[in-house]
């Protein structure tokens, strides 16, 4: 059994992960071994290109474009069948995460599903139980919105066992942002006719975890989407192909991938992932349950480890901010360890429940210091300090790690992930 599990672990899941990546052409650099890029500077690109591209005819047209051989961003897979792949947020610009670099988390491998045999069952406390094919789902009026998706456990390693040599990918790489297209769940619920006593819905995946979460009906009627496209094309298998649930601003775990069933119910089911997992043990000896919303957070993506600053040279402190409660209204940056703060510039448009890019111009004076960012959302919520967070939630709390991150600048200009302040 153990041997079988190990084979499964080392085999199918990793192959499935790798099949998500764009394959470089034969002339391009091979992608570095998966899992080695984090914590070390990227290998210098040495691809063969002509010395003067104006004097030689370029490559022909092709069915699929691939990245420049000089650009080799990769996710960092950890775990295997029950695994995750972290997004290289420090190597991205703007706010949209390319689909093949979007983080993933799954609990029993990436399900492989034939879209022609896919069905979504909507039943329970409804007037007209329905079975919907992919074609049926795509026939409803579509909605397209940009939203972040974040694993509720994002930031756990950085909180529990921070190391100076951590990149933003390992600190906060389980957040991504994409343009999602699908049908509003409200449209589907109107189609089946939900009864007055339907207060929750059990959303269930068609993967080997048959992962299930109980979702309040209010959220489903508000802004939930049954998504079939990401950044303009069909979902990738690791993102829940052919259809996933998206609950904007809520824990990634609730956004059930490969969704096959939605059952309207009176009370929450008390599934494993809403009792044993995805609950928040607190310092006061209780545990928060159904803590769906992801509070405001921000993280600097540049300059970060392994960058080195140059004294008196202008540098852009840039990063990402987001909140599950609407829009980010301000991001402050500190370059003196949190003693003073300056408002950062926000890249427009600032969208609700979506990543917002911030930047702050700075000239390092050559003295050791600490960089920080803190976000404020439209409800007036301020991203907590590490001390506030540790005292309020406890060192053993298990999800929603949204405290302020610190990046230390050493005397030589080296930037490292900072000790909590």
């Amino acid at each position: 059994m153990l041997a079988g599990a190990a084979a499964l672990a080392g085999g199918t899941a990793l192959e499935a992960l790798e099949s998500q990546s764009a394959k470089p052409s034969a002339s391009a650099l091979p992608v570095p071994p998966v899992g080695t890029a984090v914590g070390t500077p990227e290998a210098p690109a040495t691809a063969a290109v002509p010395p003067d591209a104006t004097k030689i005819v370029g490559a022909p047209t092709s069915p699929l474009s691939v990245r420049s051989p000089f650009e080799t961003p990769v996710r960092t897979p950890v775990g295997v069948v029950t695994g995750a792949s972290f997004t290289p947020i420090h190597q991205l610009s703007g706010t949209i995460v390319p689909s093949d670099l979007h983080f993933e988390r799954h609990h029993a491998g990436v399900a492989q599903i034939d879209p022609n045999r896919y069905k979504l069952l909507v039943h329970g406390l409804v007037d007209r139980p329905l079975s919907l094919t992919l074609d049926d789902i795509r026939s409803f009026p579509p909605v397209t919105r940009t939203h972040f998706l974040e694993c509720a456990g994002n930031g756990r390693t950085a909180y529990r066992s921070p190391k100076p040599e951590m990149t933003p990918q390992l600190v906060d790489g389980m957040v991504s942002n994409a343009e999602w297209t699908g049908v509003s769940v409200a449209t589907i619920l109107r189609e089946v006719g939900i009864r007055d006593d339907a207060r929750w819905a059990l959303a269930e995946g068609g993967d080997a975890a048959v992962l299930s979460r109980s979702i309040p009906v209010e959220k489903l009627l508000d802004d939930a989407i049954l998504v079939y496209a990401q950044n303009g094309e069909a979902l990738r298998p690791a993102a829940g192909y052919p259809v996933r649930l998206l609950l904007p601003g809520w824990e990634g775990n609730t956004c059930i991938k490969w969704i096959r069933r939605l059952e309207l119910i009176r009370q929450p089911n008390m599934s494993r992932d809403e009792t044993s997992k995805y609950t928040d043990p607190l310092a006061n000896g209780t545990a928060r349950q159904f803590s769906f919303v992801l509070d405001a957070k921000s993280t600097i993506t540049s300059p970060t480890y392994p960058a080195r600053l140059v004294k008196d040279r202008w540098t852009q402190i840039s990063g990402l901010a987001w909140t599950g409660r609407g829009r980010i209204v301000r991001v402050d940056v500190s370059t003196d360890g949190g003693r003073t703060w300056t408002e950062a510039e926000l890249q427009e448009p600032v969208q609700a429940k979506a990543l917002t890019r911030f930047s702050h111009l700075w000239r390092w004076d050559g003295k050791p210091t600490v960089m920080m960012s803190r976000s404020i959302d439209e409800t007036g919520y301020v991203q907590p300090t590490y001390r506030q967070f540790a005292e309020g939630r406890g060192l053993g709390t298990d999800y929603h790690f949204n405290c302020i991150r610190s990046w230390a600048v050493r005397a030589g200009g080296e930037v490292v992930f900072g000790v909590p302040a």
């Binding site: 599990a5 494993r272 310092a283 301020v382």
Partner: protein
């Protein structure tokens, strides 16, 4: 076409800094965006599209696998500690350890399932090193059936019969000190078992706003 001409006129007007001349040949609407009179409004969605097919009871029964905290969805059959001990050794111990101590290393970790150390003050928020197990953290016994039925064992999910699952549940609950080894677990008894952590879970009190909770 009239719309395009009108837009050009607007841009020209703005660039020329001459007043606020609007499109006179379109009907004014809220927000100032005009729609020509020969263009109809956006089509409203019908009350129902009638897409999809009615799901009959057979189709629903095939997928309706959940068992909830009230015991709804638990199937007929029953299980015992002794049978569970035998099945645990065959089906679970390779990953979770002979004594439910957990297994694996590094990135592949199989959770600890059994603990007998008392944790009356529920110290998990303060100390991440105290393992959260069925006995000290899971608030509902029915979750065990629901979860094992869904996805265990890892290499053959969905392969256990209801009596086999009931037996493994009986074994795990008894080993965690929640019930005596004589307890027969079935659809009637399982939802009646009160887990030690049952009252430790609280509603989410975060609401946004200035206060950190």
């Amino acid at each position: 076409m009239r719309s395009a001409v009108c837009l050009s006129a607007q841009i020209f007007t703005m660039v020329s800094l001459f007043g606020t001349v609007a499109c006179r040949d379109s009907e004014p609407t809220i927000g100032g965006v005009g729609r020509p009179s020969d263009v109809g409004p956006v089509v409203a969605a019908p009350a129902r599209f009638n897409f999809g097919t009615a799901a009959d009871s057979t189709a629903i029964a095939a997928w309706n696998i959940d068992a909830n905290a009230a015991g709804e969805g638990l199937p007929p059959g029953s299980g015992t500690y002794n049978e569970g001990a035998r099945l645990y050794s065959q089906q679970c111990a390779a990953c979770h350890g002979q004594d439910g101590e957990g297994g694996g290393a590094g990135a592949v970790v199989y959770p600890k399932l059994i603990s007998r150390e008392p944790t009356p003050d529920f110290p998990f928020g303060r100390d991440p090193k105290i393992a959260r197990t069925i006995g000290n953290y899971w608030p509902y016994a029915t979750t065990l059936y629901d979860y094992i039925h869904r996805t265990m064992p890892l290499t053959a999910p969905g392969s256990l019969t209801p009596p086999e699952i009931y037996s493994i549940v009986a074994y795990l609950l008894a080993e965690n000190g929640v019930v005596p080894k004589t307890t027969v677990v079935d659809a009637a008894s399982l939802p009646e078992i009160k887990m030690p952590a049952r009252d430790k879970f609280v509603a989410d009190d975060r609401k946004g706003g200035p206060a950190f909770r």
